[in-house]
Structure formats: C-alpha cells, structure tokens
Symmetry: C2
Subunit: 115 residues, 2 copies
C-alpha cells in the first residue's frame, strides 16, 4: 500500500456509557503480572485513584467484580482477577485480535485503488 | 446482550502518523454540502485554523489534494472535494460501514457467554 497506509482501530465496549477498552484491559493484564492494582497503575504512569475509578466504573457497568482484593483493599493491597474478569478479558483480547485481522483484509479490498 | 453491551470502534488510517479518521471524514462530508471549509468547520464548532491543519496534514500524508479552493483559498473561499478525495472518502465510508457490521457479528460470537 502506498505510503504504508494501514488501519488502526480503537475498540471499546459500551453499555449506556463507555465501560471497557484498551485502558482497562491493559490494567487487568498488568494486575495479572503485578498482583496489585497500585503497581499496575504505576507501570502505566497512571494515578492509582484513576485506575481504581476505571475498574470500578467497568465493574458497575458490566455487573460483576473484576478484581478480588486479597489484602489491603482500596488502599493498595494485593489484587487478582476474578474468574469472570479473566473470561471477559480473554474474550475482549480475542475480539480485538480477530477484528484487527478482519480490518486488514477488508482494508486491502476497500482501498485496492490506492496502491 | 446483557446491559445492552455492544462494541464501538474508532477507525483511523495511518501512514507513519495518524492521517485520516472520523474528524477529517466529517469535515469532507460537510464541505460537500456547505461548499466551504470555513462553514464546514463552523458546523462542527471547530476553529477554521484547526480544520485547515487537519486537511493539510491528511493531504501531505496521503500524497494528493483533498480540497479544491474555488475562490478565496486559505482565507475561507469556496471549496469542493477533488475527485481523489471523493473516491477516498467513499472507500473510507464503506470500510467503516462493513467493518462495523463485521464487528457486531464477531462480538456476538466472542461474547456469547455474556448473555
């Protein structure tokens, strides 16, 4: 493709409001490795209060808990993903991966003239 | 789907930088009806200088002119889309429409558990 033109998608999920997207997905992935929301937020250079609000907003919209606080709770103790969060995050990752592949294919078809 | 959960995509095109997306597409559609970049920008409550910069950045990245200034030029005279801009905008619109349809279908498959 001329100029290396290619699509780039931002993939979010909405109920009546935005509730899940790249930011909360990255937070959850980092909680899986860091075992702490505070450490996950820090690794993204995000304020802990903002990370906590993003997770809580998503939880309220989705209707289930994403994080299980193992110790310390709101003030930064350990955190793990709930089974529901793992399932949802896996579905979101698969959705993004497959949709990006479909987008690349569709893009080549729609922009075939721009070679 | 529970809570009316549904996907929402932001679809942009990139070369080495962002060069085309919903903003410039809406500007071009409005130029088609308003026959003026200044009027198009005003209808979007966007500063004319910003609209002009968005269009110029896209033109430079894509390698062709998007607007033909019929009179007045940079300072707000009439404007029409070039044939290349029409073709590109049509391709972008079709890409967005078909990708959104594919996203809805894929979403139902990936999130079937969340009913």
């Amino acid at each position: 493709m001329k100029n290396d033109l290619h699509p780039g998608l931002t993939i979010r999920l909405f109920t009546d409001q935005k509730c899940f997207g790249p930011g909360v997905a990255e937070l959850l992935h980092r909680v899986e490795t860091e075992h702490s929301l505070r450490a996950a937020a820090g690794a993204m250079e995000m304020a802990y209060s903002k990370a906590w609000r993003i997770v809580r907003t998503a939880e309220e919209a989705l209707g289930f808990r994403l994080l299980h606080s193992s110790t310390g709770g709101k003030n930064g103790g350990g955190a793990t993903l709930t089974p529901e969060a793992r399932q949802f995050l896996e579905a979101y990752d698969r959705f993004c991966e497959e949709l990006n592949a479909q987008a690349d294919s569709l893009f080549r078809s729609c922009f075939a003239f721009y070679q």
